[in-house]
Symmetry: D2
């Protein structure tokens, strides 16, 4: 009954096998090997456009490095007040950018809207050089609340951003879950709607440690290799990240893993919704379920070994009551059933 995080799930066997296979014979270091070149190019196929892709090991590195080439150090990055870049990276974007400012903006169910952004900017008017000038809109797809921006919502946001001369960054730590859930193509959810740079996650979805920073405008990437190197994020044995993506993208493994996780979340969400006294807080669109349990129930579940954490958000009146439950490719229908039974039992006096 482990719903702590998709990060707890380890790696898919196919990923481990690919690493082992990549370990044959010598290969040039620092990404000069054939496998890395081939898999970087494979990203262009997936996104149906000629793009520049760079591998790193963590999502924090991917976001920070991407943002560092998208804004000058005095620029401002607009983001959701619950976004990972704002809440969970220990001021990493500020570090990588050399001191850019993040402007946290409110929005329902983890989503930004053009209206919400416009309202925030109305309170931060242009008075160069006094206020930090906004340069980047950072979106998270899927959001921290497990919701998905539709292609139309994305397009409205990207159009708004580009009209204001902002670049659009997408934190796609759970982009795979989004594609699997929505059925839209990777292209439709990224550059075709206006995303400039996508951090395309692998780690939360069955890779060991693998993320790709994807630049749809290759000219924007000209500094990236220097920045990745000086931040200690260029692996000497880069083939071992490339190998993960090689397996991840082969035969749609990434979509199968994400789809499995999503399906388990749907089953869990349906079960909880049908349970008296349990409230499911946001639409369950990917592999995360947010739920408020009756008093005492969460504690009883944990006593029985269920693993999940409270979810706290800025200004939320449910703070202290809402919990997040995350499924992964390793979650089984039986895990979900066991948990739902345990909830039922915990509710009874």
């Amino acid at each position: 009954m482990n719903f702590g995080s998709d990060n707890w799930a380890g790696a898919a066997p196919e990923i481990i096998d690919a690493i082992a296979r990549a370990n044959e014979g010598p290969a040039p270091a620092y990404g000069g090997d054939e496998l890395t070149a081939r898999v970087e190019a494979r990203i262009s196929d997936i996104f149906e456009t000629d793009c520049a892709a760079y591998f790193v090991a963590t999502g924090g590195a991917a976001n920070g490095l991407a943002l560092s080439v998208m804004t000058p150090p005095y620029g401002m990055i607009l983001c959701h007040e619950q976004s990972h870049v704002q809440m969970d990276e220990c001021a990493g974007p500020e570090f990588f950018t050399g001191g850019a400012k993040l402007l946290p903006i409110a929005g329902e169910a983890g989503k930004l809207t053009p209206q919400g952004i416009a309202k925030a900017l109305a309170g931060f008017p242009h008075r160069p050089p006094h206020g930090a000038p906004e340069r980047v809109l950072s979106l998270t797809q899927a959001t921290e609340c497990g919701t998905i921006y539709s292609a139309d919502e994305l397009k409205a946001l990207c159009d708004f951003a580009h009209a204001a001369d902002l670049k659009v960054h997408m934190d796609g730590a759970r982009f795979a879950n989004t594609v699997a859930a929505s059925g839209a193509s990777p292209a439709a959810l990224s550059w075709r709607t206006g995303v400039d740079v996508l951090c395309f996650g692998g780690t939360k979805n069955g890779c060991l440690a693998a993320e790709a920073v994807v630049f749809f405008d290759k000219a924007m990437a000209k500094d990236f290799e220097f920045r990745r190197k000086r931040a200690g994020h260029l692996w000497s044995k880069m083939r071992f990240i490339a190998a993960q993506f090689d397996a991840y993208l082969a035969d749609d493994l990434w979509l199968r893993l994400a789809g499995d996780a999503n399906a388990m979340a749907t089953q869990l969400s349906n079960g909880l919704t049908a349970t008296d006294g349990v409230e499911v807080s946001y639409p369950t669109e990917i592999n995360q379920v947010f739920a408020c349990f009756p008093d005492g129930v969460a504690e009883k579940l944990k006593d029985q070994g269920a693993m999940f954490f409270p979810w706290v958000t800025p200004g939320d009146p449910a703070n202290g009551r809402m919990h997040r439950l995350v499924t992964s490719f390793r979650t089984t229908p039986r895990d979900v059933d066991l948990f739902l039974s345990a909830v039922d039992k915990a509710k009874s006096p």
Copy 2:
């Protein structure tokens, strides 16, 4: 009819005279001169405690340098969402600190409260090392809305901060106006209520370019000289900042200048309050008046040469209508009368 900003007023004649007087004979460079030592020591007298004071030329430098020794680069600075450090320094605090995060917090009339801070932090829970850990509470005295924290309000905030292991920074760009208006002593409004570091402003109140960073705990200042130097804020001819403070503090010049400006704001505020159709937005406690004029009036006033600017704040429904009027030591009763008459005239059809 110039109410654009106290920065427009130039310097008080006493300040210019002091600069001219300080220009006699050679003097050691970089603050090694006697005048600098003497005036730094004079700060201790003013604050009735042995403190460490460092001179710089601008408020942005004072705030940024002060904060840079109060937080590690991965720390978080809690501040009002309208504060100068958040809105007006082009990400300066992020620059000086090496990437610390600012968490903007809402509060009535420019003021933070322990409740408001607690609510903001409830949405940013401790999960080291994921979220940036809060390390500093930054207060502005007087606030950007021209209001004053009472000694009791300050004490409650500082107690809250210290209980949470935060240091308290005070942006005192208009500290002189505060002291003059409240009648409280400099000590009562700073270290006695728990302020750890005060940026004690001179520039907005008649100096040419002079601010003092005052450390009430001298141990906190150990890095300051290195940081001031590397940021290009150590003057080689430091005697010319010291001379400004020398005159500023002599014979209570600082309080007279601030008192004069405050009195003119009171007169202006009273006049506007008595004017039908004009709303004065915050209590007028120092040298700033915030007013909403009837439609078309602001434009007519400007056409007649009155100088003042719109005031825009995060989420304010009055955005677009509120204006800020700032008085200075140079403002005369006649300036105020002329303006009030002009308002009257502009209102009539």
Copy 3:
């Protein structure tokens, strides 16, 4: 005949196996798992002292993060002019430290001496706050020239540093080769001679991507977790670095891998020394051989598929002629013999 770099060698099979084994069942993320705790503790056994160890994936990250807690951002780091931190990390130490200055210092065969450092500092005298104050001495063991500091040499350097109030950082990317070659204990080559922080490398010696930053004074490590996180170097699936170190340290695997590589370098060096017209440039003490070949020989060897690179150093009159040959745990005696034969053949007209 691949002597390009030890980085080309991939990972030892034991390391890959350990990764596969670690992939069982869920485990807490971000280093909260049992394996990580156990292997971190194992580092204390290896070094025979209670120390704090943190895992990261690359040597650049290890060095940069270590230095960032050893010097303030305005401090100066003394290093060899050929050191990796100076020459090969794309200004990474400057990035991680927030702008510290590196002072490159000359020294024979990659080694610093107290005399050489004293001479360099004589030209950079203390004039606070004008010059950046030196705070760290960074040593590389083994050096970039494949040479080893003896325990006595180390002690003299560390004593010199501590007398000048400097902390001592050791870049131990090839620390394993040093221990294997010298027969001295890990403790004798680190904290017992005065090293404060060691970057203990695994990647160049058969790990996939694994380095440990080891603080012998645990108090110095108090910031480390925050800094690692914000730099994107905290893995969510940390067990996969821990597993590498687990296997690396088990049954002296690390010393066997390094010993094998060293032995091949000795064989290669002996063969080249015995070859007329070839000069071996530094004592061959670990797994690197530096050689100058007769004109045209290097080109012929490369034409036959031998892989190695020119080695260029500041002010070296041999620049353009010297090459570096690196052996690894995968190098075989037959590889060496083939190369030596190829050299013989290439020399003949």
Copy 4:
């Protein structure tokens, strides 16, 4: 007998008068005033080209801000090992640039040469992204040794730099002394020979606190205002720096002040050269004289109230014996005569 530094001399009376005159009536803040605009434009006249000029208060700020727009944060700045940016700004360039690397390079009498730079770069070969890529050549005119690059020497250096795709920065803290001494035009010593950005000093030559950063390619300046603001170097009462430059450039005041200082140095140098047992170390080309006195003489001179400091340079065998004597616009022929007599007396047993 004060030869400590030109910084000790205070300000020229014309500068103080100009400040007082500028203090009339209100003026827009932050450089929006007419005087600032007029004086910025005046810089274009002086340099006979349309350039962008920005005022700041200190040389460290000018250099740091200029460099911050000339190199990315991972770039390398080539400079003389004795340059102010390397030795005297407490790692300021590293701070302003966000972590760029300075490569200190040796050269006779404070001067760099294309040969010297080429030699240094030969030891720091291009291997992107491993080494920090060089992006800026920083020259000091006049040098720290009081010597002047001729227009031909400058051209050779700038051509070399541009051929290698480097921008050329000139630290012109004593540019006035250079122009006065050489008779060459400001244009001839800057953009006409290839300088891209000049930090044009006023403070060391009779201003109170005034430096101008001059961009000969205005496109390079696009970020400058934001960077100046966030570093706290935009004065709210900017007219008071503009006023200094207004007076400084009027009627060639700057050249008269510098010429006077230079003449006194020449007189001093001639006198010392004619004194048995005293060695003058570099050609005396501006307002600095470097001299080695017989044993015990410097101490006796200081006992009699003469003020000057030892001059220490990297690797200089004369370290401990050489002293620097600086003249200023305030130095009189009588000051020089008194000092020379004192030297004579101090020598006699």
